[in-house]
């Protein structure tokens, strides 16, 4: 059945051999954050895996109920701390839909541009962790170079490298210097693609890397949909579900771009989809810079927002998949219930279904394709 998978302790019930349970984490040398994986091994074959999460559970959903709407944007940054603008945008979209707030035109272009830039920074970090899981230290150092350049841009324009708190309801905090946009456009068109070519040369064509990823942990589209997997992991099974095309928001319907898919469904497909997405995102960001209209970037709103009572569920295509914000408002200044449906949570819940039968060395190769961020999983 599409749902059954071996549980911890189940497989060794035959009594012939004894399996061991290996604890990987929550403190471990990889870059995956505080994730505790209990892996049941028979020799070096993985029989079952049980991810234990919650080591970074800060109770953000409860804290949201204790903050005004504007204060919630600050916490949203800290959800998926690698793609901050996507989280802020998801939340702002939900509030704007509920309160029927119109977003300033130029701000829509800026939001789209930042969302694609942050997709690039996130995928660069993912690329480093894929290399690190395979034992390669170079991708970590190399990927830092374009990341630092993008962080410089974020800091020059929004004020912070990492936690920008940039989006506001109805727009963004402030306009961006045209000279900075110009410089970024030039950099994306030349140096960034040169970096990506270099990274492809380092890892994507590496025989050892390819043989370790090819054919690993195959997943079909039906399985992915039944397990709730979305984002690049789903697109790596050949399905082209992408909220930016299906339910367009921002200015995605005005840009020329393709959804990246790969029909193979294995770990290599998941790798390829993300590498291609980086290039596509760079193209999209460049188009945004070229075609952005002049104008206001904020909408006039009351100082303290009181959306009307009601509820809304808005899905945004974040870096890892569908980020769903379910907002229930009772007409007061604080959200009554703000639920964050995290794509990384669903993606990592598919891990116990993908690994049984794999070799322990391949375990982290499979895990690299999941691209988890513990802060979003645990909230």
């Amino acid at each position: 059945m599409i749902g059954d998978y071996p549980r911890l302790g189940q497989a060794s019930a035959d009594g012939a051999t004894k399996s061991i349970v290996l604890n990987m984490g929550p403190q471990h040398p990889s870059m995956h954050g505080v994730l505790h994986l209990m892996v049941e091994l028979s020799g070096e074959t993985v029989l079952a895996c049980r991810p234990v999460i919650g080591y970074l559970h800060r109770g953000i959903e409860k804290l949201f109920e204790n903050r005004t709407y504007n204060q919630c944007i600050v916490l949203c940054d800290r959800l998926d701390y690698i793609s901050q603008y996507s989280n802020e945008w998801a939340f702002c979209r939900a509030v704007e839909k509920l309160a029927d707030i119109e977003v300033a035109k130029r701000a829509e272009w800026l939001r789209t541009m930042y969302a694609e830039l942050v997709r690039i920074t996130s995928h660069l970090l993912w690329w480093s962790s894929v290399g690190l899981d395979m034992g390669a230290w170079t991708p970590l150092i190399y990927a830092m170079v374009p990341r630092e350049h993008l962080f410089d841009f974020y800091e020059a324009t929004t004020g912070s490298r990492l936690m920008p708190n940039y989006l506001r309801f109805g727009g963004v905090k402030e306009d961006v210097d045209p000279a900075a946009l110009e410089e970024l456009h030039d950099w994306l068109g030349t140096e960034f693609f040169a970096h990506l070519d270099e990274f492809d040369g380092l890892l994507s064509g590496n025989e050892i890397f390819l043989s370790r990823q090819r054919g690993l942990a195959h997943m079909t589209t039906d399985q992915a949909v039944a397990w709730g997997v979305t984002g690049p992991m789903l697109r790596a099974t050949g399905c082209d579900r992408d909220l930016r095309k299906d339910t367009p928001y921002g200015v995605y319907d005005r840009l020329e771009w393709q959804t990246m898919t790969d029909a193979r469904g294995d770990a290599l497909a998941r790798y390829t989809v993300r590498m291609r997405e980086m290039r596509e995102s760079a193209n999209m960001a460049m188009q945004c810079i070229e075609r952005m209209p002049a104008g206001e970037v904020r909408t006039r709103l009351p100082k303290v927002l009181r959306p009307p009572a009601g509820e809304v569920y808005v899905r945004t295509e974040s870096t890892r998949g569908e980020l769903g914000i379910y907002l229930v408002s009772d007409g007061s200044v604080k959200p009554y219930r703000l639920r964050v449906h995290s794509p990384a949570f669903m993606n990592i819940s598919s891990l116990p279904r993908l690994v049984p039968g794999a070799h322990i060395n391949d375990f982290f190769a499979i895990f690299g394709g999941v691209d988890n961020v513990m802060a979003e999983i645990d909230r």
Partner: protein, 142 residues
């Protein structure tokens, strides 16, 4: 193909509310899994399963997608003295962890769930944080 929501709501003894942003079907708890199974047979897939403490009841909410751009909200209300409902794991296997989180945060037990344990909080935690009766105690030490 968009399922016929009005007839589905009627078949399972519930109501259809078209007034909000997405159509909402509210059914009594006994028909929760049957409603989900009927929708799944129509090709509907799930997006999220969560809960809301409305003060009088705990509403278990499921957001499902009839197509790539159509969302449907399913709700069932549970009262404080009996916070149990059928699990949707036989219908959509991926809701396993989502239901564990609802158990962790609200105390709702799902019948037929393969692993009804806390997922985010540590084992000995007392209380269900997202209930409105659980107050954040800022003076608490530690």
């Amino acid at each position: 193909m968009t399922p016929d929501l009005a007839s589905l709501a009627e078949r399972f003894g519930g109501t259809l509310d078209d007034a909000g942003f997405d159509p909402t079907i509210r059914v009594p708890r006994e028909n929760w899994r049957a409603l989900a199974a009927a929708l799944a047979a129509d090709g509907v897939w799930f997006s999220d399963v969560t809960a809301v403490d409305t003060g009088e009841t705990v509403d278990v909410v499921a957001h499902v997608c009839a197509s790539r751009s159509e969302q449907i909200t399913l709700k069932t209300a549970l009262s404080d003295d009996d916070l149990t409902v059928d699990s949707l794991v036989p219908v959509w296997p991926g809701v396993e962890w989502l239901e564990r989180e609802v158990y962790d945060m609200f105390g709702v037990s799902f019948d037929g769930h393969p692993d009804m344990t806390r997922i985010l909080l540590y084992e000995g935690f007392e209380g269900y944080p997202l209930r409105k009766s659980f107050l954040l105690d800022v003076e608490e030490d530690g």
